[in-house]
Amino acid sequence: MIDANLMIENFPSFLGGGSGQAVLSTSDGLILTLELLFYSLLGGLALSIPLGLMRVSRNRLVSGAVWLYTYVFRGTPMLVQLFIIYYGLSQFEAVRESWAWTYLQEAYFCALLAFTLNTAAYTTEIIAGQIRNTHWGEIEAAKAMGMSKWLMMRRIVIPAALRRALPAYSNEVVMMLQGTSIAGLVTLADVTGVARRIYSDTYMPFEPFLMAGLIYLAFTFLFVWLFKLAEKRWLAYLAPRKH
């Protein structure tokens, strides 16, 4: 049977508390998960706009390089990428003696790097796809207005592509939320990491993982709802007419 008391007792652990410590006294659990998610999405989005533009470039070399990057990062599991960055790179003396080691020795940074590169690859493809989808009429109109190529990109193509990317991007955000659960495998105490800690303390597998599942579920619900609001606001012009 499910031990509801165990779930209630251990809930503060997911909020950085537990074992006599006040809630939020550490960033264990939910805070760490949201931090990793937020920063990696921010970094990924920032990278993916220029990369998306490069991906649709007419220059084969430029678009080919970005294609290779997205192919590799979309073609391998994020867990493998994280292990290569965390355990793999640390095997090389040269890496350990370089300036990068200051960052790479931190599990937090390694996780952030893997997540950012991964989400940047997917988001690049989403944005590149929407740039290609730009209606030829809009381009023609921009050209008729005498806009330069970059002005047209900045004012017309990119804003419209980002709007149309919203539904696909909301998927990516939800996938990344679930994806951060592998951070626990490199010593970090995110939501899943905390659940694993409670599990090995109590030998009760069901309750802590159920608790973790409920937390992910609640945040998925929140994100989907926020994106619905955003789509209503920025994609209203694409919605079917109601009158």
């Binding site: 010593t187 694993r196 090995s200 303390d201």
Partner: protein, 254 residues
């Protein structure tokens, strides 16, 4: 009608056992190197069988060491398939309900593994990152003693992962069972430049009472003889000789 028959059977068994008291049958785990394993000649070899034979010499009885899978070793003892269990069995309250334990015959300490020359004292712990196995007794000890000295604990799922990070320099030390640290890290090429640091930890409150020799509840006299023999081999140096054969550090504890 069953009761008298059983009593008679028990009496017979006791009588036969008594008449063969010169031979003691010791059971060890069939495969738990370096504590026990089948030698090339088919006989049991390792730390546990060697201690059993030394005990027999001290008690002046003949020894027979038999292999037995660890699960089911206590029921087999109570079914009189052998008389003594010497199988690296940790003394626990749960097991004490089923068998009687001798004094510990070893208590594997937990040790810090760190770079050669690390001078571990209370001040050393400040700001140090120490790898532990998640929810291990070592983690509990470290949490209660070292966190307040300023150490940061890093939890791992497996010991080899913490050794990788120790070698890579993400950790200042790894706190593990000494046998694990010795065989899985220090004796491997990866462990070059590393060594045990600081004292051996085996406070009973955290690390248990150690491994004991188990006999049936009824065999109080045998238990007493075993304890006496154990003291004797500790005193006359035969214990140390056996220990040195298998370990580069003291596993008896304080």
């Amino acid at each position: 009608m069953k009761q008298p028959l059983l009593t008679l059977g028990a009496l017979l068994c006791a009588l036969t056992a008594a008449s063969h008291a010169e031979t003691l049958r010791f059971a060890t785990d069939a495969s738990y190197p370096p504590f026990s394993q089948q030698g090339p000649d088919g006989k049991m070899a390792g730390f546990d069988p060697d201690i059993a034979r030394a005990l027999c010499t001290a008690m002046k009885v003949t020894c027979e060491v038999v292999p037995q899978d660890f699960d089911g070793i206590i029921p087999a003892l109570n079914a009189k398939k052998f008389d003594v269990i010497i199988a690296s069995m940790n003394i626990t309250d749960e097991r004490k309900k089923a068998v009687n334990f001798s004094d510990k015959y070893y208590n594997m300490p937990s040790r810090l593994v760190a770079k050669n020359g690390a001078a571990v004292n209370d001040a050393w712990f400040k700001g140090k990152k120490i790898g532990v196995l998640r929810s291990s007794i070592q983690e509990k000890y470290a949490r209660d003693h070292w966190v307040k000295l300023g150490a940061k604990l890093v939890p791992y799922g497996k010991a080899p992962e913490s050794f990788l990070d120790l070698k890579a320099g993400r950790l200042d030390a790894s706190f593990v069972d000494a046998a694990v640290g010795d065989t899985d890290f220090l004796k491997t090429p990866n462990g070059k430049g590393f060594a045990f640091a600081g004292p051996a930890y085996n406070e009973a409150k955290y690390f248990g009472e150690g491994a004991g020799i188990a006999v049936r509840k009824a065999d109080a006299a045998l238990l007493e003889r075993l304890n006496k023999a154990l003291k004797q081999i500790r005193a006359d140096g035969s214990y140390d000789k056996i220990q040195k054969k298998y370990f580069s550090f003291d596993i008896y504890g304080n």
